[in-house]
Structures are given as structure tokens and as C-alpha cells.
């Protein structure tokens, strides 16, 4: 007998959120690539979670266009997450998506448990345009949320029409926004960002949440330099052919 027997010690939890713009302009290769990339990265996140003795990574996904919808009503482990293909149509209600995310970044009726025993979440926003609703008031609500304040926040701007100012406001810095110009870059950056955020976000260390955000920003900025058609919004690549949008 002792204090250890009878009870297993749970791993700490980290939740990875995908916020997916599925407005009409995402139709075709953009939304197809998002579906492929996330579906393919989920087993990798499952592996990162299984190999991490300190943390269990769970995944939640919110699609937004005219309305918003969570793919599941609870976060699921990466290896258990069965991806449901997202189809594009409608407007870009990013403000409403912020409000919806705020509801779930909560312990009561939300996806979060006690802050004790949790790591800050990681949130990845993918968008190809600008909000068509009241984004500012939605973001204002979200910015008061303690989980959001502590979260790793990264945005992927899909193409030249993405509203960089909005994505900067969401993540808190231009360094956290990666711009992609073609299908291949989109798929690669979704994978790189999801994996990097999961690895750093679920790491047990004395790193503060702020420094985890910086670590992710630095690593994905560096990685984007090797991906043709991807660039950090804070340090755009020199003008060359693969800086032009190519989505067909």
C-alpha cells in the first residue's frame, strides 16, 4: 500500500483548436486542401500525444461561414478524431466564431477542465478573406478570456485576399501569421503549424505561455522559409514567382 497504488496519475491535457473558414470563397482546392491536410495531420498529433508521458493532446474543430458549427461536441484525442469533410459556402462570420470559441474556452459547458492539470491551448485559425460580421465585438469578448490570453495563437492567411490586419488582431502579432499562396504550401504549413504547436504547447517546462508562443512563431517562421509559396506575414519573402496566388 502507499500513496501511488490504486490511482493512476493522469497526464495533463492540452487542447488544439482548429478554426476553419468555410465561406464560399474557400470553395474548390482551398477547402479540399484544408480537409486533406487536417485529416492527415490528426494521426501525427495522436502519435505526439501517445509518445508524450506528460500530456494528452485533444483536438477540437470549429467551422464557420454564415453560421458556426463544432465538428464534435467535445474535444477528441487526435488518433480518435474522425475528420468530417468541411464544405465551403456562405459568408465569413469570424466575429461569431470568436464568440463561439469563447463559450468553449470555459470550464462550465465548455471544452476546458480545471486550469490545474492543464496546459494552455493552441488555436490555429485558417481564413482566406475578411469577416462579414461584427468581428471587433466578437474578438473583444474573446480577449477577456483567460484561456485565450494564455493560448498559443497562429493564423494561416490563405491567399492575398486574406485580411492580414484581422488575423494580426486575432493572434496578437504579425509574427504569428503565415501567408500561403498555393495548395502545396497550405497543406505543408497546416501540418508544420499543427505539429509545432502541439509539441511546444504540450511540453512540460518552466517556459511561460508567452515564451511558448514565441517559440512556435520562431519555428514556423523558419520552416516557412523552406516552403515554396509560404511566408511569414511579418517578414515576407523577397518577391519571386511563388509569392503569387495559385489556387487552381
Amino acid at each position: 500500500m502507499g500513496l501511488l497504488d490504486n490511482e493512476s496519475i493522469p497526464r495533463r491535457q492540452m487542447t488544439l483548436f482548429f478554426l476553419i473558414d468555410k465561406s464560399g470563397s474557400m470553395d474548390g482546392s482551398k477547402i479540399g486542401s484544408v480537409n486533406d491536410a487536417i485529416e492527415n495531420v490528426l494521426p501525427i498529433i495522436g502519435e505526439i500525444s501517445d509518445e508524450n508521458p506528460d500530456a494528452e493532446i485533444r483536438v477540437a474543430a470549429l467551422e464557420f461561414s454564415t453560421d458556426t458549427r463544432w465538428l464534435y461536441d467535445e474535444p477528441k484525442e487526435g488518433k480518435d478524431f474522425i475528420w468530417q469533410k468541411v464544405t465551403a459556402e456562405g459568408m465569413t462570420s469570424l466575429g461569431e466564431a470568436c464568440r463561439e470559441l469563447n463559450k468553449k474556452l470555459s470550464r462550465s459547458n465548455g471544452f476546458m477542465s480545471s486550469p490545474s492539470g492543464c496546459y494552455a491551448p493552441a488555436i490555429i485559425l485558417l481564413s482566406d478573406g475578411g469577416p462579414t460580421d461584427d468581428f471587433e465585438s466578437g474578438l473583444a469578448v474573446l480577449k477577456n478570456n483567460s484561456w485565450f490570453k494564455s493560448a498559443i495563437k497562429i493564423a494561416i492567411a490563405i491567399g492575398d485576399d486574406a485580411d492580414m490586419e484581422v488575423l494580426k488582431q486575432f493572434t496578437g502579432s504579425l509574427e504569428a501569421v503565415i501567408k500561403v499562396h498555393n495548395i502545396d504550401a497550405l497543406k505543408k504549413m497546416i501540418r508544420i503549424i499543427a505539429v509545432t504547436s502541439s509539441q511546444i504547447g504540450s511540453k512540460s517546462s518552466s517556459a511561460t505561455d508567452e515564451s511558448k508562443q514565441k517559440q512556435v512563431e520562431e519555428q514556423i517562421t523558419e520552416a516557412a522559409k523552406d516552403v515554396a509559396g509560404a511566408e511569414s506575414a511579418a517578414a515576407p519573402a523577397p518577391s519571386k514567382q511563388d509569392n503569387y496566388d495559385e489556387w487552381d
Binding site: 502507499g2 500513496l3 490511482e7 495533463r12 468530417q84 492539470g117 494564455s150
Partner: protein, 347 residues
């Protein structure tokens, strides 16, 4: 009384080990003085710093006296660390291992409080009242046995500023306003009290798993203080390795004369809970099996296929949980036999 102070991690707080040791000593003496001067107020049911002093009779007086206690602790701690800083210039080790910006802060600051920063929680009781107070994170739990069942509570209000790795601290400029407390003088004393630093609740969360841990501590205590101390020293090290990786401090107040009796009651409760959970899982497994059988013949859409997949996963998890509960039941039965024999020996 029981006091826990947890020095902040992080390079900036490179003398927090000294800060926390000084804070415990100062707090103990300040509480003694408080009790000597008659810090109580009779007949008050459990009241906290979140209650309105205008609407709870006596709370204004208690609030005033406790704030005086907190002020005294803060002032004495600041004095003590300033004296320590003067008498102990930066060591070679500190100069080589701590970032320059932090020892510059130590050297240039009017008061070196950040260098010594730490949290504090304390519980104390007299024959007529008990009180608990806290600044910063960590969890203070009380245990009461009600009709043979354990009822845990966290009577000191929580401060939402303590979130993930952020915490309020004795080194904050507005520390006095960040103290939270509870006070009770209706002569209802908790059966036991547990004070644990945040390394523990970062491992177990602040719900049932943390309560289970303290129930196991009570079982060890029933075997005797020395055995409980030995178990804490060895097992907390292992729990920290497997859990939060943070250091852990625990202080406990209990009544040794009822420890074995409480251990038997806790085990009876855990066995009853185990039976109820197995019954619930048994019913869930039957429902899932029926749903899977039915759904298997009705798959039409993608969403129905996905739903079926998740039901199958849920079924596997429910069966695993059931098997674990069966194993737990065997262990609990063995333990209860041990403590019943211990109780008979004592009689």
C-alpha cells in the same frame, strides 16, 4: 496550525527558497500573536473574504483583524528579506548561474521582493474558531465525514488571477488586497485539513483525483505518523516525476485518535462508489452493445458511419474502465480488511 509557502520557480525568483522559509516562520509567529490578542469573534458560521462585511454580523470585525494580520506578515517579510539581502550579497554561484538582468534587478531594486517571491497558505484553529487564508496558488481542502461519507471543500475563495502558471504572490505590490480568507466560529471544525502546493493540483487537478490522493494520505496516517511521513517523502517524489514535475509541499491537520476509524469509513465509501460505478458502466455497456447492433444494420450516411465508429470506441473504453474497477475492488477489499484488523487491535 499548518502553513505552506511555495517559492516561485523561474530564474527571476532565485532566492524564493529563502523567501518561503522566512515567510513560514514569520506567519507562524504572527498567527500566535493573533491568537494571543484574541483574534476571534464568536458564533459566526463559515464566512469568506467574498462575503459582504455589511451583511454578515461580525465579519467587519474579523475582516479588520485578519487584514491587520496580513499587513503584519507582509511588513515583517519585507523587513526579513531586505535584511537577508543586505547580509548576503550575490554569491559566485548566483553571479554565474542567474541571468544578469535578474541580479541587476536584485541590486538596483529598492526592495528585493521579486527575488524572494513566494505564495502562502495557512490554516489555524483555537478551541473556539478556525480560519484559513491564502495568497497565490495551491489548494487548501477541508474534509468532513458526513453520515460515513467524505465531504471535501475548498473554503478559501479562489482568485482567478491564479491561472495556469500565473499566480498572485507575497511579492506583489498590492499583496494585502490579494489575500483571501475564510473564518468560522460556530464550533464546527473540519475532520482534517490538507494544504498542498500547486505541484499537487497540477498533477491531480482540483477535483476527485486530488480528493482521492488525500483519502490515500488519510489511510497512511491511520498506520501512524512516521509511516505516513515516510510514504509522503518517497511517493511525492515519484508523483512529481510522473505528474507536474514541480516540487510538492503538503501540510495536514488531523486527529490521530479517530484516524483508523476514518480510514475504515473512507474504504467503505470507496467500495460503495466502486459498486455504483460498475453498475452504471454495466448498463452503459449493454446500451452501447444494443445501439451498435441496431446501427450496424442501418448505416446509410457518412454521419451514421462516424457515429457507429465512436460507439465502438466508447464500448472498448467502457469495458476497460469496468475491468479496472473490478481490479480496484479487489484492492479495496484487501485494504479494508487490513484497517478493520487494525481497528480491532486498537480496541
Amino acid at each position: 496550525m499548518a502553513i505552506v509557502s511555495d517559492g516561485h520557480g523561474g530564474e527571476r525568483y532565485f532566492r524564493s527558497d529563502v523567501g518561503s522559509k522566512l515567510l513560514v516562520e514569520i506567519t507562524a509567529e504572527a498567527i500566535r500573536q493573533f491568537m494571543k490578542l484574541g483574534g476571534g469573534y464568536g458564533g459566526m458560521r463559515l464566512t469568506t473574504s467574498n462575503d459582504d462585511p455589511e451583511s454578515v454580523p461580525g465579519l467587519g470585525v474579523v475582516d479588520h483583524k485578519l487584514r491587520w494580520l496580513f499587513s503584519s506578515i507582509i511588513a515583517q517579510w519585507n523587513e526579513a528579506i531586505e535584511r537577508h539581502a543586505e547580509e548576503n550579497p550575490l554569491s559566485e554561484w548566483e553571479l554565474t548561474h542567474v541571468d544578469e538582468k535578474y541580479w541587476n534587478e536584485f541590486l538596483s531594486a529598492k526592495s528585493p521582493e521579486k527575488t524572494y517571491g513566494c505564495t502562502l497558505m495557512a490554516f489555524f484553529r483555537t478551541s473556539t474558531y478556525w480560519a484559513a487564508f491564502q495568497i497565490g496558488d495551491g489548494k487548501l481542502l477541508t474534509l468532513n465525514m458526513v453520515d460515513g461519507e467524505p465531504v471535501f471543500a475548498q473554503p478559501v475563495p479562489w482568485d482567478d488571477k491564479c491561472f495556469l502558471n500565473k499566480t498572485t504572490s507575497i511579492c506583489d505590490s498590492k499583496a494585502l488586497d490579494e489575500f483571501r480568507y475564510c473564518y468560522c466560529s460556530d464550533k464546527s471544525f473540519p475532520t482534517a485539513v490538507f494544504l498542498g502546493s500547486d505541484g499537487l493540483d497540477d498533477t491531480y487537478g482540483d477535483g476527485e483525483l486530488l480528493e482521492n490522493f488525500y483519502m490515500n494520505v488519510m489511510l497512511e496516517i491511520a498506520k501512524g505518523k512516521d509511516k505516513a511521513m515516510k510514504a509522503l517523502v518517497s511517493d511525492l517524489t515519484e508523483i512529481s516525476k510522473r505528474g507536474s514535475k514541480d516540487d510538492m509541499s503538503v501540510a495536514i491537520i488531523y486527529d490521530p485518535s479517530v484516524a483508523v476509524d476514518i480510514a475504515v469509513q473512507l474504504l467503505s465509501y470507496q467500495m460503495t462508489r466502486n459498486i455504483k460505478r460498475r453498475e452504471s458502466l454495466d448498463s452503459k455497456i449493454a446500451d452501447l452493445e444494443a445501439l451498435i447492433e441496431k446501427a450496424g444494420s442501418e448505416i446509410g450516411s457518412e454521419s451514421q458511419r462516424i457515429e457507429l465508429e465512436y460507439k465502438k470506441k466508447d464500448l472498448v473504453k467502457a469495458k476497460e474502465a469496468f475491468a479496472n474497477l473490478q481490479l480496484q475492488w479487489q484492492r479495496l477489499r484487501g485494504k479494508k480488511g487490513f484497517y478493520q484488523r487494525l481497528a480491532n487491535t486498537q480496541k
